[in-house]
């Protein structure tokens, strides 16, 4: 059961019958009835308040891990089928706060390939993946000094070949900040 927070109370969505035997979806099956009909004040029949439960607002992924590399995003509707599949899959990792695990590997001459020990033998890192495949963390609270250096090196090592060339006709006002 997924609870939502509304004015400090935990509440769950009801179906159109009210007992779980109906549908939760709208007529076009692309949204939830309860949400589209409004909050419990406007739509009291669409929501069930959970007894004896006080809701606590959770931080979003972006609030928890604001520092991302390379910090890019995609518009789902404009994305390719492959990209949409990636976003669909990765949002589960985003929502479940799954940290990255560094797996130890070695090159195996017999297999003629790289082999890796299982995740249980890996090193859990304070890095999290968002739905767009960015590696995110909180540089202030999550990473130690050495990991921070790795992240800074990653951040500073990004190139932007889309920047236009500069010549003697370019106005200094149009120079990028670092130039």
């Amino acid at each position: 059961m997924t609870y939502l927070c509304w004015e400090g109370r935990a509440l769950s969505c009801l179906d159109d019958v009210g007992d779980g035997s109906g549908t939760y979806l709208n007529a076009t099956s692309d949204g939830l009835l309860c949400i589209e009909a409004g909050d419990p004040k406007k739509n009291p029949d669409g929501w069930a308040l959970a007894d004896n439960v006080i809701a606590e607002e959770q931080e979003s992924f972006k609030q928890k891990y604001p520092h991302c590399l390379p910090s890019t995003s995609l518009n789902y509707n404009d994305a390719s089928t492959e990209e949409q599949a990636m976003i669909d899959a990765l949002q589960f990792y985003e929502l479940s706060d799954t940290p990255l695990v560094w797996q130890f590997g070695y090159y195996d001459d017999i297999a003629d390939d790289w082999l890796y020990w299982g995740e249980a033998y890996g090193e859990e890192l304070p890095l999290f993946i968002d739905r767009y495949g960015n590696v995110c963390t909180n540089m202030d609270t999550k990473v130690d000094q050495s990991m921070g250096r790795v992240m800074l090196a990653f951040n500073d090592g990004l190139f932007d070949m889309a920047q236009l060339d500069i010549d003697d006709t370019t106005s200094p006002d149009d120079y990028p900040m670092n130039v």
């Binding site: 090196a153 500073d156 932007d160 060339d165």
Partner: protein, 253 residues
């Protein structure tokens, strides 16, 4: 950055640079340099590490530019102590930067060729990652490979993938010596990206990295001295009056 490196300053250290074989024009210009820097957003604009946080951004930019200039001018120098200008005045070594465009150690005529430039022709020695990649082992760009490191074709591969996002440089590695912008970008990649288990010069100069005990033991401490040790190690560091090291230090200062 233009407040640190004016066109006048740039021209002063590159006035005797290599010329294009066909046109006779200088290989590169101040505008190529600015165009390349524009494509590296963190150059002169990086996150400064704790030990240097008291310095202003302009001072850190000057520090980074000085470090890069010192490496470039010594690595690509003409080393002609008898060179004179039109008025028969001697041309100082610091004015002879950008005279040599390729790493001479990987020139086909060089006796060191077998040491590492043929490394990628040896399937037993190279990383198997490169087995199915037809790469041409040549020296790369304006920043040295680093003391004791074996490199060549892998640098082209990473340069092409990291900077251009394609295989254009592995298809045509000669671009690093014939196209000015590509030449600058190859050096800036080596300056910005940590490689071979070592920090990037950019990381060192901005104080983003600090040496471990083992690294301190081999001379990798901090600042520009660590950058020099990173690239030249025991070949030059700790040797009094080494001419290349001296010129590098002079340019940096």
């Amino acid at each position: 950055m233009v407040t640190v490196v004016s066109q006048e300053r740039f021209d002063a250290v590159t006035g005797y640079q290599a010329v294009d074989a066909v046109s006779g024009e200088p290989f590169t210009t101040y505008w190529h340099f600015l165009s390349a820097v524009a494509k590296v957003p963190a150059f002169c604009n990086g996150v400064v590490g704790g030990m240097y946080s008291r310095f202003k951004a302009e001072a850190m930019c000057a520090r980074e530019v000085a470090g890069l200039a010192a490496l470039i001018i010594t690595q690509t120098n003409g080393w002609d102590e008898e060179l004179v200008d039109e008025d028969s005045n001697p041309v100082e070594l610091w004015q002879q930067g950008l005279k040599v465009l390729e790493d001479a150690d990987c020139d086909a005529s060089d006796e060191l060729l077998g040491d590492y430039c043929l490394y990628f022709d040896d399937p037993d020695a190279r990383d198997p990652f490169f087995d199915d990649k037809d790469l041409d082992p040549l020296g790369v760009g304006l920043v040295p490979r680093g003391a004791g490191y074996i490199y060549g074709a892998d640098m082209y591969y990473w340069f092409s993938q990291v900077v251009y996002g394609d295989d254009s440089l592995t298809q045509d590695p000669t671009l690093v010596a014939t196209d000015p912008l590509t030449w600058w970008m190859s050096g800036l990649m080596r300056w910005m990206i940590p490689m071979m288990g070592k920090p990037a010069p950019h990381n060192i100069m901005l104080g983003q990295w600090a040496a471990t005990a083992d690294e301190s033991d081999v001379g990798l401490t901090d600042g520009f001295g660590a950058v020099a040790a990173l690239f030249y190690g025991a070949d030059q560091c700790g040797m009094a009056q080494h001419p290349v090291a001296n010129l590098r230090s002079d340019v940096y200062k």
